[in-house]
């Protein structure tokens, strides 16, 4: 009797094929699951970063508003009075005007001045 034709003989070709099919199917399944997990993780990461960005924007806005408030003329004036610094705008006789010889002085334009 041919050994190849016995019922106990192992037919490697189909078995290998079956194993390969199983492996491919499993890999595809695992790959699919892994990919889904990656997408999910990335989604969570995106969400976290979006929230962080939003928080930073909010904080940035809060700080710039505070800065704007502290730099506003009325706040500066109030602080000057509160601290008794007695600062005031220099009077014209205290100002030396640096006239550019090349340009004509225009009295309507604010001048760059230095006080003494």
């Amino acid at each position: 009797m041919n050994r190849k034709r016995t019922t106990m003989s192992v037919r490697f070709g189909p078995a290998l094929k079956a194993v390969l099919i199983c492996l491919v199917t499993c890999s595809l399944g695992l790959g699919y699951v892994w990919q889904k997990k990656q997408i999910n993780d990335l989604g969570a990461q995106i969400k976290e970063n979006e929230n962080k960005l939003e928080d930073l924007r909010r904080e940035n806005k809060r700080r710039s508003d505070t800065l704007a408030y502290l730099m506003s003329p009325q706040e500066l004036d109030a602080r000057l009075r509160q601290l008794g610094l007695d600062l005031e705008v220099p009077r014209p006789e205290q100002i030396v005007v640096l006239v550019d010889a090349k340009g004509k002085a225009d009295s309507t334009r604010p001048l760059r001045t230095a006080s003494r």
């Binding site: 997408i39 999910n40 990335l42 989604g43 969570a44 995106i46 969400k47 909010r58 806005k61 809060r62 508003d65 704007a68 408030y69 730099m71 506003s72 003329p73 009325q74 004036d77 005031e88 705008v89 220099p90 009077r91 014209p92 006789e93 100002i95 030396v96 005007v97 640096l98 006239v99 550019d100 010889a101 090349k102 002085a105 225009d106 009295s107 309507t108 604010p110 001048l111 760059r112 001045t113």
Partner: protein, 622 residues
Amino acid sequence: MEEKITKQNRKGTRRWLVFFAAVMLLSFGALGYRLIDLQVLRHDELQSSARDNTMRTLIREPRRGDIRDIRGNLLATSLFVKTVCADPALIGPWHSHVAHALAPILDLDEQALSQRLKPKMLLNEQGILRTNRYVVLKRKVPREVWEQAAGALRDMELGLDESKFNRKQRVAFRSLRRQSVFADRKEDQLRVYPGKHHAAHVLGFVGGVDHRGKEGIERVLDSKLVGSRGWRVTETDSRKREVVALRQQDVAPRNGLHVVLTIDSGVQHIVEAELAKAMAKHRPLGITAIVVRPKTGAIVAMANLPDFDPNAPGIAKPETRRNRAVTDTAEPGSTFKIVPVAAALNERIVSLGTLFHCEHGAFRYGGRVLRDHHAYGSLTVKAIITKSSNIGAAKVGLRLGAPRLHAYMQRFGFGARSRISLPGEVRGTVHPLKKWNKLSITRVPMGHEVTATPLQMAMMMSAIANGGKLMRPMVIDHLKDDRGRVVVQYHPEPVRQVVSPEAARAITEALKTVPQPGGTAKRAALEYYTVAGKTGTAQKAGRGGYLPGKYYASFVGFFPADAPALCILVSMDEPKGDYYGGLTAAPVFKAIAERTAGYLGLKPDLVQQGSIISGNDPQPRE
């Protein structure tokens, strides 16, 4: 025998097999039916139910644009805030504990809050029993305060040993701590005006649930400031967390445009401070000041007292919210004498030296007597302005004639809106020529029988300062987007050439004498700048004629007179005590002008300074 037993066994087995097959068939049939029922027959209903459970459409609110001054100082901004709500059904008997934890943080009365958190059973219109599941505790709560409130609720002490709770109790208490008080998903905005009363009448305010502009720039530019909504269609998991991968639509909101005004916060502050001093000194019903750049018509400052805080407009009296500079009219009085004189100079029917006899203080015309404060003989046109002679102005008007005077009034912008970008502007009154009576030609030149807003007077004077060219007042400089790109730039807009530059120069020469010794506004004179201006003191009109003891005092002027940088108007409604414009409004003009000139670094034209010429190359460079 054996064969018979075997046959019976086979028969029994077959019966079992048939029975089993039938059961299987029925089971699969039932499953199949269920499948068809779920997937086909109830497909739409279940699909929508599943979608409702997971799909979320989130509205993404745009942030309202900021308002800034010309130097970038922040005048108005918006913050996202929360609306804090509660579900009393989840709170149950713990309402007093929750109220105790939240009341100090949300700044609410604990007793009242406890009452609102109490679960209530209500019968609706259909007679169905309902519980209160949504109670708004407080609107416009800053995010930080909300986070503090949520933290306090999580750490709330109930006086129970929670480790001994069963699963059901644990879930209930978890819901109490984490879900019973929540922030509404829809974000709300809080408009903040950091300067409080600063430029309140120009800025206006927002109001209503929809957070729309109600007054001022907020109202005029509401559509530009508001922006447009975005949205996000997405899915959530069983814990209501967003599954980012299943986001379907994500459209970002477009924030509102930022508005940059021509207002200079520094000048505005100076004006407001000086008005406050004048208000305390003269106790008028109202006081208004406007600072304009004559060349462009740009409003550098505009202030009225009494004013209001736009952060809480509801608590202010309605009359304090009115921008008197554009909404109130009054007979301008002597400041109006500029109009007939400028018109007569433009028509070349008089010169500054032309003499008019002022009838020694009493001029009979049309059966009525017109009087001057002092008895003058002959006065030149220049002196008529200097002394503010009513009779002189009336005679100039008579020489000009009613039709031409009426036409020049209209050309100067009286009786029409100036088209400033502020709401509520009125036209003032210029009666049609056919309604003028015989006396009108002597009364209108001195600022009677005509009414004007403070803005119209300021723009008239600015036209004189600008060589006779009337400009449209502009209060908005440009609009920009979030990235700082200029989207709309507003340019100065000439309205018309009202009088020739020569006529404007001539009237300026006359106006320069007003703050000089012998003029009516010596208190408006500046130490370092030449001022050209005019005082006005008009008796207020009411029912049945002029009201005794009630005056409208004003001063409008510009400086430096020969190269005007700023035009300033100050007007007071019913000042107490002194009521002449030269005694009340003129000193305020002076104070504002001195401080503003220093702040803006305007070059004085009255002092010779020690100039240092920079550079050693006198040749002009290419």
